[in-house]
């Protein structure tokens, strides 16, 4: 994964969601996991990375190319984004949710789009639910449709913003299984999560973000076991207590 943040700051009013963040990743990591307290800047980091948000200052480059305001649309088209609250289009069926961007954005014919959408849904165990509206699906199913929609065009980078926070543990497991399967197939994945177990098991590298700054960026073994920074230790102690 080739990823670089240079002095990136994101300011909302008086609040700094990202505070002069710099980061360089040039390794062969496949899965990057963001952890840290709520309001620490994880969502903002992912939105900047996904091209949904332009930082107040600083530059971001992904896979060697620098993000510019003019290039954001193409950047978004090249990568996939999955939201905490699913954000499916409620007036479209699961199949249409996946097929519509394929047809209108990626230039496939309606037939090709439908076939590809059904294949993508089947891959996440949703073959029987393709013709249902989002309101007729469970939370876990909706999130898997969200992932199918993001993955179907073959994105360079799959970005997931707390994809399991709105789900109960069983449905969370469904979704995280799907993510892990994707990573196993070679998909580059960046996600933020409160599931430390998943971070430890699946991440190639863990990023700890708090108060808009990256406190620690290291392989999971280092962050969780051998050498957590003092702040990370305190955080882990709090979240692991119960």
């Amino acid at each position: 994964m080739k990823l670089s943040f240079k002095n990136v700051t994101c300011q909302f009013g008086t609040q700094r969601a990202l505070d002069d963040v710099s980061l360089d990743l040039e390794n062969d990591e496949k899965v990057l996991v963001l952890i840290g307290p709520s309001g620490g800047g994880k969502s903002t980091f992912l939105r900047v990375l996904g091209g949904l948000l332009t930082p107040t200052s600083g530059t971001v480059s992904v896979a060697g190319s620098i993000l510019t305001p003019q290039g954001l649309l193409n950047h978004r088209r090249a990568n996939g984004f999955v939201f905490q609250s699913f954000n499916l289009f409620p007036h479209l069926t699961a199949r249409e949710n996946v097929a519509l961007p394929l047809e209108k954005v990626h230039g496939l014919t309606p037939d090709e789009s439908a076939t590809k959408a059904l294949a993508s849904l089947a891959r996440f165990g949703l073959a029987d639910h393709a013709e249902k509206l989002p309101a007729q699906l469970s939370g876990g199913q909706q999130q898997r449709v969200g992932i199918a929609r993001a993955v179907a065009p073959g994105p360079g980078l799959l970005i997931l913003d707390e994809p399991t926070s709105a789900l109960d543990p069983e449905m969370s497991a469904e979704v995280l299984d799907a993510v892990q399967a994707l990573a196993a197939e070679g998909q580059q994945v960046i996600l933020s999560t409160h599931s430390m177990g998943f971070a430890r098991a699946a991440a190639d590298r863990v990023l700890y973000l708090a108060k808009g700054k990256i406190i620690q960026a290291a392989p999971p073994k280092e962050v969780f076991d051998t050498d957590p920074s003092p702040e990370v230790s305190k955080f882990l102690e709090r979240v692991m207590r119960y």
Binding site: R76, R77, N87, F89, K104, A135, P153
Partner: protein, 552 residues
Amino acid sequence: MKTLFTIILCLAAAFTHAASPLRIGTEPEYPPFEFVDENGELDGVSIQMAEALAASLGRPLEIETIKFDALILALKSGKIDCIISSMTANDERRKSISFSDPYVTTGLAMLVGKDSTIQSLEDLKKPGTRIVAKLGTTGELFARKALPEATITALPQDPACALEVAQGKADAWIYDQLSIFHHHKQHPKTTKALLSPLKAEQWAIGLRKGDEELRTQVNAFLQEFRAEGGFSKLGERYLSEEKQLMESAGIPFIFDGEIKPQTPPSEVAQEKTSGTLFAVLSLFGVGIGITALVKLSAAPGWRKSLPRNLLVAAIIVAALSGACTFILNSLNEGYTWNWAGIWARRAFILEGWLLTIGISLAALILCLVIGIALVVAGRSGIPPLAATARAYSELVRGTPLLVVLLVGYYVIGNAVGLDSKVWVGILLLGLFAGAYLAEVLRGGVESISSTQFEAARAVGFDRFQTYRYVIVPQVVRRVLPAVAGLFIMLVKDSSLLSVIGTAEFTKQTDIARAATFTGLEGYLPLAVGYLLITLPLAWIAKKLEARFTYES
């Protein structure tokens, strides 16, 4: 015992008779005959006459102010006892009511443009001559009879008629001498008054048919009042300028005309009321029945317990028809129905109905275009454009449609040289409704969560695609009920175009109603006619709503 009872009965009768007020109807929009003075009090020749009449009959006076073309309806339905409102006694009106002896002799005159070549009635007979008249007046009746080749527009208000001539939108306004004289004084630079009478007219007090007792009393009063010099005094007090003017022009003053003895009221064949009542009732019955059945068949549990539901439906329909029968029956006692006049004008009314459909459709399309344009401008992110769109919406929504129409037609329409009452009507209606639609649509767009916009961007949609595929389909579903309501309102609001004289449904029905001096016979078809347009609209909206549902 029996004599005592009789005495009490007589006393009671005498007492109630003495105490029952004399209810006189007038439209106080015709100075100096009947008007409201600067203190808000009724005044004028007719008001003074009314007071003298009530005093001579020894009854307390109650004056009801009623629109001129509704006066006859009020009299027929028993709301008032007589009309003193500068009303010309003519044969058309005699079909509906009876009249006292006349008290004023006047004539129809013309208001024409300053430089007009029109001199006499003959000049008006050319095809294409544009005549205005006040709705329901003898001027209108005369124009329709005497000038079949001319284009005749009937407007509900005097000043509008005068403006039509002053602005050159009409060639002549036919109305009584005094009005023409006064309106000419309002527009001295643009108009000319031709006062020599086109047709002599006599004003009389309107009375309910069959109320011969009051008729005799009123005639006796008029004779006495004239003998006492009452009319001369009123002439001096209210009409001295006019009196001078008319006498110098060699036209006899209005109170001094030859008073012809009143011919006994000619009996015009009246329709039997029972047949009419039956027709009205069946209309209501059928209407309610159809509506109820449509609603019922849409209910999910309808078929499960058919007999019970049918029974309940029958009871409801019966109760409603019963109520209608009761209401109409109580009305029927003092009301003579005259459907023949309206029926004879059915093609004329149908033309208006079709025009209403056309105007509504065109205005609806314009309203959509304007509403969408306003929303796009409002959300364009270009501050001056957005502010203008918002200001437009707020200004228009804060103004009554009536004012928009009058100002739009007589001021703006005149300034840009747009004369067609139909196109001005469509334009103004569309512009007006567009402002409302914009607010409905804006509310719809803003009710869509911002996460939908973000999701659409995330899958790679550009701005247009975001609206086209994600936002608009959701907005349509959400605003459909409100938009359907708005469209129905637009259809009904198109009736207001009658004030500028567009020949739409309400206007045509008004003309037919005024020409036949009928009341409810005009209003009932009006209600049915609008329902025939609005009910299908509501039905289509329901179908569309069902089609666009996506929330379980």
